[in-house]
């Protein structure tokens, strides 16, 4: 008696697929519901942002940085600003730095809300997504009041930020934080401690700490594996040393250390920490100017610099080479999502098709950040 002949099925997941946020593509080899391998295919959103920098000059490139990672554009703004300031040796006014941190931390909360919301939606729960988006909309309203934009902010400038906090904004921001902390609790009660949700996430896509370091994972993905590495603490920049906050790491209390549930919970806890930072920053806000005097024809001296920013998706590196002219000679961005895409192929082996969706969502991959 012959055994039943079975075939592997090649599935083309993406570039237009509801679970691949943006345009990602996976070539999945599946044996029924179980995946043999999922090979990521990147490059669908490549827009030559780094090359554009060489043609538009230092000031002109700031709006383009928004498009590197549109979900947390404040950090890309900040990264570009910091790189240029380091090249030219510009000191940012203290109030400017505070404005940057406030805007960036609000953006981190917004980005994580989108991440945990879409994650719940990928698992099949629709309600947490709208609840998360509702909170994100309120943050967007605040940021809109601050800089006039809701998604691609273009708030920061080389040498500070574009606009000071508008009158009454501080109180609004504090009122929002008072509203947000219990909402986070409610969100946890709604979905995070749901039995089905934990069962879907625990022990899925387990990344060992060694692997995470070898694959160059950063940010929440790395911290979920138990590696305590946060640029804000370990290579402090801006005014982060002024604030008291914890760096949440994965605990493995629901499954294995470094599984999707850990990555999810790290993001949830990071939102609470960001809220803590925001309260301190809003309280300690110093007076003064927000923008240093920077020449309109910005020509940093020849040289190169590398700066690191802890973005919502982790360690974001900006490498800029200047040749002394008004245009940078070379710009490179190092982003967390690209590294996260690299590890999916390794993690996908033996998972189910439904788990691939969980995996992508838990790594919080943003398509434009992969390709730039």
């Amino acid at each position: 008696m012959n055994t039943l002949r079975t075939e592997e099925m090649t599935l083309n997941m993406g570039p237009q697929h509801p679970s691949t946020h943006g345009v990602l593509r996976f070539i999945v080899r599946a044996d029924g519901e179980v995946m043999r391998e999922a090979v990521p295919d990147v490059g669908y959103l490549h827009r030559s942002i780094e090359k554009i920098a060489e043609k538009v000059g230092y000031h002109g490139f700031m709006p383009y940085t928004d498009r590197v990672d549109y979900v947390c554009a404040m950090f890309t703004n900040q990264g570009w600003g910091m790189a240029c300031e380091k090249l030219a040796g510009i000191e940012v006014p203290r109030r400017g730095e505070y404005c940057r941190v406030i805007a960036a931390e609000f953006n981190r909360i917004a980005s994580h809300l989108l991440s945990v919301g879409t994650m719940a939606m990928d698992i099949g729960a629709m309600t947490p997504f709208t609840h998360a988006i509702r909170e994100r909309e309120m943050i967007n309203d605040l940021i809109e009041e601050l800089c006039g934009a809701r998604l691609t902010f273009n708030y920061m400038r080389i040498g500070g930020v574009g606009f000071d906090l508008p009158p009454g904004w501080r109180e609004k921001a504090l009122a929002y934080l008072d509203h947000f902390d219990p909402i986070l609790e409610e969100y946890n009660a709604l979905i995070s401690y749901n039995k089905i949700y934990i069962e879907r996430l625990a022990n899925v896509g387990v990344i060992a700490a060694d692997d995470a370091v070898n694959y160059n994972l950063v940010g929440p993905n790395l911290r979920a594996c138990g590696v305590k590495w946060d640029i804000r603490k370990d290579i402090p920049y801006s005014v982060y040393p002024d604030f008291e906050f914890e760096v949440p790491i994965g605990s493995g209390q629901w499954g294995t250390l470094g599984d999707a549930m850990d990555r999810y919970m790290v993001r949830i806890r990071e939102m609470a920490e960001s809220s803590k930072i925001l309260r301190q920053a809003l309280k300690q806000l110093p007076p003064g100017s927000v923008l240093a005097k920077v020449p309109r024809n910005f020509k940093p001296p020849a040289g190169e610099c590398q700066i690191r920013v802890e973005s919502a998706r982790g360690d974001m590196g900006w490498y800029v080479v200047s040749d002394g002219t008004a245009f940078p000679w070379r710009v490179h961005v190092r982003t967390g999502s690209f590294a996260a895409m690299g590890i999916t192929q390794k993690l996908s082996r033996g998972l189910m098709i439904a788990d691939l969706v969980t995996l992508i969502a838990s790594l919080d991959v943003i398509a434009p950040e992969i390709d730039r």
Binding site: L11, T127, T130, Y197, A354
Partner: protein, 396 residues
């Protein structure tokens, strides 16, 4: 029916020599068409509107509110839209099977209405195997869904179809086993017979008759959700994984048929539970006028069913989706053994108290009330803690 046909024949409308059977067949077709077009399809449509509104409330959105008062006519607008859309059959699909699949799904949705016990008199056919017939015809869905998945010639559709087949066939077993306790207690398979064996008061419902039936009712409800492809068991059409599952390649009216069947099935799920465990149409005898009594019974039955429909919408708005292996584990490792144990437990219970234990009904009902109070207190606690204003304006 017989008198109706004889009246029609006597009127001479069909001509002099028309055989009796032909007129009877026409009468049956017209009558059932009237029931399906007048009750089943509008119900499915209205449920789609209710679900979208309820879901929107749960998600702190507004939901459809433009067409008609509170968006009530949204379902008609959607229906017209879908009819107007192009009916696309993919080039590589199997056209015959592809076109036939939605009809089978709709067939599985309309057939159960024949034994739907709306009131003591309002039932199309009180079959002596009513509940068996109900479970049998609802299982036709799996053929349609599998056909749709296979004929689409699309890998996502195929996975959706196979998932659906595995899921429905598996959950038929605990669902069927959970019907047995009631059959054991009543000794009949007829829908009306089962309802007549219960009383109007909650302590006389089979839900509270003994602990085994209570568990059976819960298993039946969950299994019925799984059979109806409802969240948390909506794997066959999991949009984040399989695009739209077995319905991926469908468009226009055929696409709508699948979803009409899904929404309509909610009523059938509710009706099965209400009949078996919640006393069906039973209402205290307040009047000797049969018309008044039937209207009251009709309302009672519909309230019970619509409550269960609401619960399933609530569940859909709250829970995430399980994975296919967890789905199978839940069915075969937990539900099937528990359902068997229930059956044996009920058999022993019936052997000890052939007429039922009246005290058990009161105790179970009291326990149910305690659980309900605890639940409501918990909801109020969370609502207060979240500090959100509960904006409850049903008519936005």
């Amino acid at each position: 029916m017989r008198t109706l046909v004889q009246t029609l024949l006597a009127s001479g409308f069909f001509g002099r020599n028309t055989p009796y059977d032909l007129v009877a067949a026409i009468a049956v077709f017209v009558l059932s068409a009237a029931v399906f077009l007048g009750v089943a399809f509008p119900f499915a449509g209205i449920v789609s509107w209710v679900e979208r509104r309820v879901w929107a409330r749960i998600q702190s959105r507004v939901g459809p509110n433009r067409v008609g008062p509170n968006g009530f006519l949204q379902w008609l607008a959607d229906g017209v839209k879908h009819v107007c859309k192009e009916d696309i059959v993919p080039t590589d699909a199997d056209p015959v099977l592809f076109k036939m699949a939605p009809y089978l799904v709709v067939l599985a949705f309309v057939l159960p209405w024949a034994v739907m016990p709306f009131s003591s008199a309002l039932i199309l056919a009180d079959l002596n195997v009513g509940i068996l017939y109900m479970t049998a015809v609802t299982a036709i869905t799996v053929v349609g869904v599998l056909m749709a998945g296979w004929a689409s010639n699309d890998k996502w559709s195929l996975i959706g179809g196979i998932r659906s087949a595995a899921q429905i066939v598996s959950y038929e077993i605990p669902a069927g086993l959970s019907i047995f306790p009631v059959v054991l207690m009543t000794g009949t398979l007829s829908m009306q017979g089962i309802i007549r064996a219960q009383g109007w008061a909650p302590q006389h419902w089979f839900l509270f008759a003994n602990p085994f039936t209570f568990v059976a009712a819960n298993i039946l409800f969950i299994s019925a959700l799984a059979e109806g492809n409802r969240t948390p068991f909506d794997l066959p059409e999991a949009e984040s994984e399989l695009v739209a599952g077995f319905a991926t390649e469908y468009s226009g009216m055929r696409y709508l048929f699948f979803f009409m069947a899904e929404w309509g099935n909610l009523f059938i799920i509710g009706a099965i539970i209400a009949t078996l465990f919640l006393g069906g149409w039973q209402f205290p005898r307040v009047s000797n006028n049969p018309v008044v009594m039937n209207v009251l019974e009709l309302i009672t039955f519909n309230v019970k069913v619509l409550f269960l429909v609401f619960v399933s919408m609530w569940v859909r708005g709250t829970l995430p989706r399980v994975r296919i292996d967890q789905l199978m584990t839940l069915c075969w490792k937990y539900f099937v053994p528990i359902a068997f144990a229930n059956m044996i437990g009920t058999a022993i219970w019936v052997a000890i108290w052939p007429e039922g234990n009246p005290v058990a009904g009161y105790i179970m009902f009291a326990a149910g009330i305690v659980v309900a109070i605890v639940f409501i207190r918990r909801v109020v606690f969370y609502a207060k803690r979240s500090q959100m204003e509960l904006y409850y304006y049903p008519t936005i």
